[in-house]
């Protein structure tokens, strides 16, 4: 009965490859987010979707493309991976009109070699 789940938990890949990370929430939330946490633990928002519509798109390379097939899912596809993409990627969800308390998934540790 995990609230916010992400797959895979670990991802090791080579530069230039394309990879996807999946996120699912079973909390009935209508807003989902992707965050990147670098090696210094800085948490930076990348994207936010409300009811499947993109509402936040921070300055992120267009190699990163989110996709929300429904309110419970938000996937992140990354093209042409670079060394600097190595980080922990967190998915989170919240209710738009309920204090925006965010529930985070366990994270996906991406290592690009």
């Amino acid at each position: 009965d995990t609230a916010v789940s992400q797959t895979p938990k670990y991802l090791v890949t080579q530069m230039g490859n394309d990879k996807s990370i999946k996120c699912e929430q079973n909390l009935g939330h209508d807003t989902m987010y992707w965050y990147k946490q670098d090696s210094k633990k800085f948490l930076k928002i990348m994207f936010s979707y409300n009811n499947k519509e993109l509402i936040i798109n921070e300055t992120v390379p267009n190699r990163f493309s989110p996709k929300s097939p429904d309110k419970a899912h938000l996937n992140l596809h990354i093209n042409s991976l670079e060394l600097g993409d190595s980080a922990v990627y967190f998915c989170a969800s919240s209710l738009w009109d309920r204090n925006y308390e965010q529930y985070f998934g366990p994270g996906t540790r991406l290592t690009v070699t």
Binding site: Y100, Q102, Y103, P106
Partner: protein
């Protein structure tokens, strides 16, 4: 752009000592949230503050929002080893559409 700073970056305390982390924004915030991330874990929501001068308590944790809504603090009384982790503040200008996280304060508690 909006910046949220936190001090200190690291804090080592003896179990039983108090701990405070401070969060400062370069601009006035609409609301601020606090999260805790255990080593190897994910951020977990602790609390949200909305009103100017607001003070909220959760057992040994006390959260404050400054009068000008540009700063906040988290104080832990009599730390325990279970308090170990990184504490993040996250500020918003538009009531939650976009939260900017501070760099976090990493707390170590020595038994």
């Amino acid at each position: 752009g909006q910046q949220v700073m936190q001090i200190p970056q690291y804090q080592h305390v003896q179990e039983g000592e108090d701990f405070t982390t401070y969060c400062n924004s370069s601009t006035t915030l609409s609301n601020i949230q606090w999260y805790k991330q255990r080593p190897g874990g994910h951020p977990v929501f602790l609390i949200q503050l909305v009103k100017s001068g607001e003070v909220k308590k959760q057992k040994r944790l006390t959260f404050q929002f400054g009068e000008a809504k540009k700063n906040s603090s988290l104080h832990i009384t009599a730390t325990q080893t279970t308090d170990v982790g990184t504490y993040f503040c996250a500020g918003s200008h538009n009531y939650g559409q976009n939260f900017v996280f501070g760099p976090g304060t990493r707390l170590s508690v020595l038994p």
